[in-house]
C-alpha cells in the first residue's frame, strides 16, 4: 500500500467513532462533519511525517474538536488560526491530554449517530442517503450515482434530511435501556435497507451500488462489536453475509438475474457463509428469537444445500410460518407460499396468495410468483397475464428480463412444465 492508502483505510475505519463523538460535543451534524473534515486534512499532513497515532479516532476527535472551536472563535472575533506547529505537535497528545473516552461512551455515540440518520421522521430514501453521507463519508456525487439521481437532487435530499433531524431534537443524554433497544432496532432496519439498495441493483449498476452491500456489512459488524450480545444484530449480520455470499453467482454473462435454483453454487463465497453460520449459532444460544434470526435461518438453509434439490423446503415453510406470527405481512405470506409450493404443490401455494391480491397488486414478486404457480397448474393464459403484469412492475431491467424469459418459454408453447419463478425466494420481506 502507498502512504496515502494506509491513511485512507485508517480514516475510514475511525470515521464513525470520530464523527459520533464530535456530534456529541457540537450537537450539530454539519459542525461535526466539518470538524472531522478539518481533522482529516491535518492527519494527511501530520501522519506521513509522524506515523499513525496509537488511537486514530481519539486523535481525530481531539484535533477536530479544537479546530472547530478555533473556527467558531475566528468567526466571532476574526482572529487568525493558531500556528500549524501547535497542532502538529498534538500528534501524541491523545496519550496524555485527551481523557480516554471509554467504550460505553463510544458505543452510545455511534448508536446515536446511526440513529440520527435513520430517525423515524425521515423517509427511507433520506435515511440511507444521510447515513452514507455522515457515517460512511461518501461524497454527495457518489451517493447520487448509487441512487441514479442528479448531484443537485441528492444534495437537496441530504440537506432536507439534516434539517429534519435538527428539528427532531434527538436527545444527547445517555439513552435508557429501552431507548437503546429502540434505536438499535431502527438502525438495524436502516442497515437492511441500505444493503437492499445494493442488492437489488442490476449488473450494470454493480460498480456503484454493490459497494452499498459491502458498506452495510461493514456497519453491521461495527454495530455487532459495540453490542456483542444482541442476537438480532448477529442474525442481521449473518443474513446480509449469506445474501452477499451469492453475489458472484447472481447474474449471467448478459446481466440477467440467475435464480437461486439455477445458480452455480461453487461461486458462492464459502468464507462469508462460514462467518454467517457461526453468527447464527451464537445467536440461537441466547434463546431470544426474533425476525432477523428466522430470516437468517431461512437463508442458511439455502446456503447449506449443496444442490437445489437438497433444500429443506419443509423447514423453510415452517420458518416462514414463524415469521408470519412474529411479523404478519403479505410479503412474508408470499414467501411462505413459494416454499409451500415445493412441499404441498402449486395449488396450495396459489390458494395461500390469492387473498393477498388486493394488498400486493403493485408488487413485482407477487405477480411473478403467481404466474409461476399458474404455469405449473397449466393455466397458461392466466400465467401470461400475471407475467405481463410483473414485467410492468419490475424494479430493474434484470427482473423484467427474467420474466420475459418465462413468457418466451410460454410462447414457445412447449407443454413442459416449468418450475421457474416458484424457486425464487425474494428473501427480503
Amino acid at each position: 500500500m502507498t502512504d496515502v492508502s494506509w491513511i485512507d483505510a485508517v480514516l475510514t475505519s475511525a470515521r464513525a467513532q470520530a464523527v459520533a463523538a464530535l456530534l456529541r460535543y457540537f450537537r450539530d451534524l454539519d459542525m461535526a462533519e466539518e470538524a472531522f473534515q478539518e481533522a482529516c486534512l491535518r492527519a494527511l499532513k501530520a501522519w506521513p511525517k509522524n506515523g499513525p497515532p496509537r488511537d486514530a479516532a481519539a486523535w481525530l476527535i481531539m484535533v477536530g474538536k479544537n479546530a472547530a472551536i478555533d473556527t467558531v472563535r475566528r468567526r466571532s472575533r476574526e482572529q487568525p488560526l493558531p500556528q500549524e506547529e501547535l497542532i502538529s505537535d498534538l500528534s501524541d497528545a491523545e496519550t496524555n491530554t485527551v481523557a480516554r473516552i471509554d467504550e460505553a461512551d463510544y458505543r452510545d455515540d455511534i448508536l446515536r449517530l446511526l440513529f440520527v440518520c435513520c430517525h423515524p421522521d425521515l423517509p427511507a430514501t433520506q435515511q440511507i442517503a444521510l447515513a452514507l453521507r455522515i457515517v460512511s463519508g461518501l461524497s454527495t456525487r457518489q451517493i447520487a450515482r448509487a441512487f441514479l439521481v442528479s448531484d443537485d437532487a441528492m444534495e437537496q435530499r441530504i440537506t432536507r434530511a439534516k434539517a429534519r433531524v435538527a428539528k427532531a431534537n434527538v436527545p444527547f443524554e445517555t439513552p435508557s435501556a429501552v431507548d437503546r433497544s429502540e434505536r438499535l432496532a431502527g438502525v438495524a432496519a436502516m442497515l437492511y435497507l441500505l444493503f437492499n439498495e445494493g442488492y437489488t441493483a442490476g449488473i450494470a449498476e454493480q460498480g456503484s451500488r454493490a459497494a452499498l452491500c459491502d458498506e452495510a456489512i461493514r456497519l453491521c459488524r461495527l454495530l455487532l462489536r459495540l453490542f456483542p450480545t444482541e442476537p438480532e444484530i448477529m442474525a442481521l449480520t449473518a443474513l446480509l453475509l449469506l445474501q452477499h455470499a451469492r453475489a458472484r453467482a447472481r447474474f449471467d454473462g448478459d446481466g440477467s438475474v440467475i435464480l437461486l435454483e439455477d445458480q452455480d453454487r461453487r461461486l458462492w463465497d464459502q468464507k462469508l457463509i462460514a462467518e454467517a453460520l457461526a453468527l447464527i449459532d451464537k445467536a440461537l444460544r441466547h434463546k431470544r428469537p426474533g425476525p432477523y434470526q428466522v430470516q437468517a435461518a431461512i437463508a442458511a438453509l439455502h446456503a447449506r444445500a449443496q444442490r437445489p434439490q437438497d433444500t429443506d423446503w419443509g423447514e423453510i415453510d415452517l420458518l416462514y410460518g414463524a415469521l408470519e406470527r412474529m411479523q404478519p405481512s403479505p410479503v412474508v405470506t408470499l414467501n411462505r407460499a413459494v416454499a409451500a409450493a415445493k412441499v404441498r404443490g402449486a395449488a396450495a401455494a396459489l390458494a395461500m396468495i390469492e387473498p393477498l391480491a388486493g394488498k400486493l397488486d403493485g408488487y413485482f414478486y407477487f405477480h411473478g410468483a403467481r404466474g409461476a404457480f399458474l404455469l405449473q397448474l397449466d393455466r397458461t393464459e392466466e400465467a401470461r397475464i400475471a407475467f405481463n403484469r410483473a414485467i410492468a412492475l419490475a424494479n430493474t431491467p434484470a427482473e423484467a428480463a427474467h420474466i420475459r424469459q418465462q413468457l418466451d418459454r410460454l410462447s414457445a408453447a412447449a407443454p413442459q412444465k416449468n418450475a421457474g419463478l416458484a424457486g425464487r425466494s425474494p428473501e427480503a420481506p
Binding site: M1, S5, S13, R221, L224, T229, M234, A274, L279, K282
Partner: protein, 123 residues
C-alpha cells in the same frame, strides 16, 4: 525450532479494506508463503474470521461462563497466525519483516512453540 507468528491488527481497519484491497494483500502474502513452503519452512497458516464471530468460555469460575466476543478487548486483535520452522530468531524476524512488507500495519508476535501436534482435522 518451530515458531508461531501471531498476527495482530486493528480489525476496524482490515474490515474497511475493499475486496480488491484484501485480495491484493493476500496475493502479496502468498508469494512469501510460497517461498517458505518450497524451502520446507512453512507449517499451518490460519486466518481467523472476525472477532464478532468469536465466543469466549471464561473458565476461571464454576460453572464456566460463555461470553460473546473475543477474550481480550484490545486496540489490535488476533486475526491469524503462521507456524514456521526456523533455525534462529533472526531468521523468523526476517520472515516476519517480509510478511510485514506485504501487509503493513499492526504487529507480529513471535512465540517459540513448545508442543506442536498437527492433529487430524482436515484443512
Amino acid at each position: 525450532m518451530q515458531y508461531a507468528i501471531l498476527c495482530y491488527h486493528d480489525e476496524n481497519v482490515v474490515s474497511a479494506w475493499s475486496k480488491a484491497e484484501d485480495e491484493a494483500v493476500m496475493a502479496k502474502l502468498a508469494v512469501v508463503q510460497q517461498r517458505l513452503a518450497t524451502a520446507g519452512k512453512l507449517g499451518p497458516v490460519v486466518r481467523l474470521l472476525p472477532t464478532t464471530a468469536a465466543t469466549t468460555l471464561r473458565k476461571d469460575r464454576e460453572p464456566p461462563l460463555v461470553i460473546d466476543g473475543p477474550f481480550a478487548e484490545t486496540k489490535e486483535q488476533l486475526l491469524g497466525f503462521y507456524v514456521v520452522d526456523c533455525g534462529s530468531l533472526e531468521e523468523v524476524l526476517e520472515i516476519a519483516r517480509e510478511l510485514g512488507a506485504a501487509n503493513p500495519g499492526g504487529a507480529y508476535e513471535i512465540r517459540p512453540i513448545g508442543v506442536f501436534n498437527p492433529g487430524s482435522a482436515r484443512a
